[in-house]
Symmetry: C2
Subunit: 304 residues, 2 copies
């Protein structure tokens, strides 16, 4: 019997679901907005039930917004925990889907899933240590360290680091309900929109919003470089869709590091060091499918 | 023939050397101040030559201040690279000692060595992921992630993350020659001394220096928690010798995280989550010896 996986990219704005096994075998893809847990998870279940009528699914992988409980031996494994997203805190995402469909469901963070997709098929191939950062509705980071997904105590929450914030230059107080002006509070898509009074997509490339955004993101990346020393940084998410932004981020990273981390990757080839995802918006969905694969087949060999 | 290792804790202020194999077998320990490379490395060589007259040494491990090149296949492996410490940039620490003594010499950062010592015999036993931070002449961090020492592109330089710095509260500009008011620039021992005009050891426990120091260190730890999600944080170094400091750091970490990282380790048992080294000042020396052991015997099983 063939093995067919389901994948869910469970984002704070929309959910994407598909079945398949790899980059070249992905089908029946669908997406819908993230509304209430009951409605959204109901649509997930309906979609996969329809698929199950056509062929048996082996298991489903989820890359989810969070924070989520990713510890397989925890009693709340697969729950979304303290998310600021209204209605979603303490939602048993894995349990609800698993119970309805009768097949195993595994979960990691959206960013770890995206990192895994990029490790297997994209910009992280062959690397032992890299991070994947998303800059969109929120800011989050995950990645591979010493050839395994980053977990630890729970999982990284890279968007919530504290960074310098000069209120003389930028009086906007930040929008994180937990921390105010953490990185996510200052530099997520909604923070840009709230600060400038218009959606990021409508701000022209020469608008001062972008140099400020590039500075905040670069401080974040500098802190991740100093903390983790990743071999590469992949930056995705809706805000990075602005083509003028990434070159500004790279310039700011070099300026802020100021020659201290002296490597050709940063000093000479930063265009290959800080990059966009190669899988674009499908990194998370593909990574969710790869997540099932590695959890069934062993943890450390993706992308090798 | 018995196996005897040498260990060197190569600090920016002093060098400690010893021979032995473990926590319970450490002998002929000596220490001297870090002066010029020629004089300091000369004393290292003299010490180990004397030891070699009594018994054959198998290899030597070094935990060094840095930045250092820890990549064994690099042409500058074992060099101190861009350190702000006068005279020491581009010093071939491994090569000079190896050539003089005729035995293999291996090197990692001082903080990775200390982490390794704590992993094998101290506060990091049994953990897959933890960090070791030192707060003294400089601020540096290393650790174990997914059961292996942290390396990546080069190695972490945790002291150089950027943190919020309100110049209305603290007008001191910071002393890092590369970054000014990075974490090390604001919170290292010399920064405390320069800000308040007296040595940290002489500042009374109730002096406002300590609440400011605790705040800066806590912001650093919060950023490391959000970036790495370590299972524990071990904080050593001379500045942590102030007994009033660690409780203040823990309080600030909880306040700054503000319930976002909801785990019993942080919310209920932070006294066991942010801890002093169990090996005290000998973590680095013991870790240097353990470094030889794991590099000769395989990388990932220390402390298991």
């Amino acid at each position: 019997m063939s093995t067919v996986y389901g994948g869910i990219d469970a984002g704070g704005t929309k959910f994407i679901c598909a079945v398949g096994n790899s980059l070249d075998d992905l089908r029946a893809e669908t997406q819908f907005p993230t509304t209430t847990p009951t409605e959204t998870i109901g649509r997930v279940i309906s979609f996969f039930r329809e698929q199950q009528e056509q062929e048996a699914l082996t298991a489903i992988g989820i890359g989810s917004f969070g924070p989520v409980d990713t510890n397989p031996i925890s009693s709340t494994y697969g729950h979304i925990t303290t998310t600021p997203k209204p209605g979603w805190a303490q939602t048993d995402l894995v349990g609800m889907i698993q119970d309805a469909l009768g097949i195993p469901v595994v979960l990691d963070t959206d960013v770890n899933a995206a990192a895994l997709g990029e490790h297997r098929w994209g910009a992280g191939q062959g690397l032992d240590s890299f991070i994947y950062l998303t800059v969109g509705t929120g800011i989050g980071g995950g990645g591979i360290m010493n050839s395994q997904l980053m977990h630890g105590l729970i999982h990284p929450e890279m968007g919530h680091i504290r960074i310098p914030h000069d209120r003389n230059i930028d009086p906007y107080p930040g929008l994180c309900p937990y921390h105010g002006d953490c990185l996510e509070g200052l530099a997520s898509g909604p923070a840009i929109e709230a600060r400038w009074g218009q959606s990021p997509e409508t701000l022209p490339a020469a608008h001062p919003a972008w140099s400020l955004e590039a500075y905040y993101l670069a401080v974040g990346l500098v802190n991740f470089i100093c903390t983790l020393s990743p071999q590469r940084i992949i930056v995705g998410g809706g805000v990075m869709g602005q083509p003028q932004l990434l070159p500004l981020v790279r310039e700011n990273v070099q300026r802020l590091l100021n020659g201290y981390v002296r490597t050709p990757q940063i000093e000479e080839e930063i265009d290959k060091y800080i990059v966009l995802p190669h899988l674009g918006k499908r990194a998370g969905l593909l990574g969710a499918i790869e997540l099932v694969h590695i959890l069934r087949c062993g943890k450390t060999d993706a992308g090798k």
